[in-house]
């Protein structure tokens, strides 16, 4: 009985923040009945109404620019890599060089991409720079801990990549020599 009560208690505590987040701002381009929720307008020729397309993912999960949005930015989070890295470099590469996942190549030059961006430093041989796995893990998880003014997305703190996916990305980066 006590265990059941504890379960109920935890379930309710867990549900509280989720319920607060359910109240989305009213002025988002958002349609709960569509597969990815987030929609975007297409001005179709010679029409007085907009057509709507589905964005590739639900962006309403993160803070928006709506004045009604009272959700906070995820605070910078220091993490410690537990145990051995155990990352899959092949999978990490797929995440880094995919516009719809890590999209690392938007800002960084990576081997095999002639278009690599210059928003951040080139990572052609980052694996030979002598960084520890733990350091790179923190950088990908949330670089704001080292530099509050960084514009590198906090992949871990914002829940963009899972811990294992970040391990995979770090394994890929360490393989670049």
């Amino acid at each position: 009985m006590r265990k059941q009560l504890l379960g109920l208690c935890l379930a309710l505590v867990g549900a509280t923040p989720a319920m607060a987040n359910d109240a989305l701002p009213s002025n988002l381009l958002y349609d709960a009945s569509r597969p990815n929720k987030t929609i975007w307008p297409l001005p179709a020729k010679n029409m007085g109404e907009l057509k709507w397309n589905d964005h590739r993912q639900d962006l309403s999960r993160w803070p928006t620019l709506s004045y009604e949005d009272k959700r906070p930015t995820a605070k910078p989070r220091k993490v410690e890599l537990q145990g051995p890295l155990n990352g899959d470099a092949e999978n990490g590469k797929k995440i880094a060089m995919n516009t719809q996942r890590g999209n690392c190549w938007a800002c960084h030059v990576l081997p095999g991409d002639p278009q690599g961006g210059t928003g951040g430093p080139p990572l052609m041989n980052v694996g030979s720079w002598g960084y520890t796995d733990a350091h790179l893990y923190q950088q990908v998880f949330d670089r704001r801990v080292a530099n509050p003014d960084t514009f590198m997305p906090p992949y871990g703190s914002n829940g963009v990549l899972t811990e294992q996916e970040i391990r995979d990305v770090v394994a890929y980066l360490q393989s670049l020599k």
Binding site: C9, L12, V13, N27, L29, W40, S60, T64, C107, G119
Partner: protein
């Protein structure tokens, strides 16, 4: 009797949740911002000279450096003026939109009331574009011209949804009557000042999965390559909107904002929303003194 502990537990949980809620309401929400550059109280396009320093390369559309325009590395410094008239006089989808806009305008303004509703004096469209964005007494808010086109068309029984092709086509048609005239909005007082200040703050507010603000791309990493795209300065841009995108899409500024947001991993807002209008006011002030040129095109 068996229910008592449950009730106690539930009331305890309620108290915890209420306390957490009260704390949320009392404290400012933690948000992050990109640092402001010095915008001053009354910005203008030429202020870009002390920002990205590209001003000299786009200050006169008629005299752009052809070599710079052709250069993959330096083209961004011409701030997309190379597809504007008079530098580029070729026909494109923007001209088609202008024709469509004229056709719709003539239907809408058959009784002269559409032009009056938009604020034209004696039906003269010259410089009408320069009145926007404005605080509108009828709608009791700051609006862009496309929002008023939607409103005034509705009065004439026509649906021209803000952001739609036909709304934007009418906007291009009307805007062309101000070609060559410099944008000039006064953001030093009244509701436009408040809107400008809100827009400035929004432009620097981080959001989305990337934790990017508008300023991340257009201030922090302006001029750097993002896999084939190079973000340009936020000064002097508004003077050629609405524009024809070479992917064959006529876009109003707010439709572009929605695309900017999506590209940066940020949830887009409704077209005509107060937020997008405030950003429009902020950016229009940063285009003050720069002459209007439509129909324009850009990638």
């Amino acid at each position: 009797m068996k229910l008592t502990p449950v009730a106690l537990l539930l009331s305890g949980l309620c108290a915890v949740s209420l306390a957490a809620h009260a704390q949320q309401a009392g404290e400012p929400v933690y948000r992050e911002y990109t640092g402001y550059i010095d915008y001053g109280k009354s910005p203008k396009a030429s202020d870009d000279a002390r920002h990205t320093g590209t001003w000299e390369h786009w200050k006169d559309r008629a005299k752009l450096d052809e070599k710079r325009v052709a250069s993959a590395e330096d083209q961004w410094t011409t701030n997309w003026k190379f597809m504007d008239p008079p530098f580029d006089g070729s026909l494109h989808g923007g001209h088609e939109a202008q024709d469509r806009g004229e056709e719709l305008y003539k239907q809408l303004n058959a009784n002269g009331r559409f032009a009056t509703c938009l604020g034209a004096k004696r039906g003269d469209l010259k410089s009408l574009r320069l009145q926007y964005p404005q605080y509108n007494r009828t709608l009791k808010r700051v609006v862009g011209m496309e929002q008023m086109i939607e409103h005034c068309a509705q009065q004439q029984g026509m649906k021209l949804e803000n952001g739609s092709y036909d709304n934007t086509a009418v906007s291009v048609y009307i805007t062309a009557f101000s070609n060559g005239m410099p944008l000039k909005i006064d953001v030093t007082r009244g509701p436009l000042k408040d809107s400008f200040e809100r827009g400035k703050k929004l432009f620097h507010t981080k959001a989305g999965w990337t934790n990017f603000s508008c300023a991340t791309c257009h201030v922090s990493i302006v001029g750097r390559s993002l896999r084939g795209q190079t973000p340009t300065t936020h000064y002097g841009d508004i003077a050629h909107w609405p524009t024809y995108r070479t992917k064959d899409e006529l876009q109003s500024l707010h439709v572009r904002f929605a695309e900017c947001n999506r590209n940066a991993g940020v949830q887009p807002l409704k077209i005509g929303s107060q937020e997008y209008t405030d950003i429009e006011v902020f950016m229009t002030a940063l285009s003050n003194d720069y002459p209007v040129a439509v129909p324009s095109a850009r990638d």
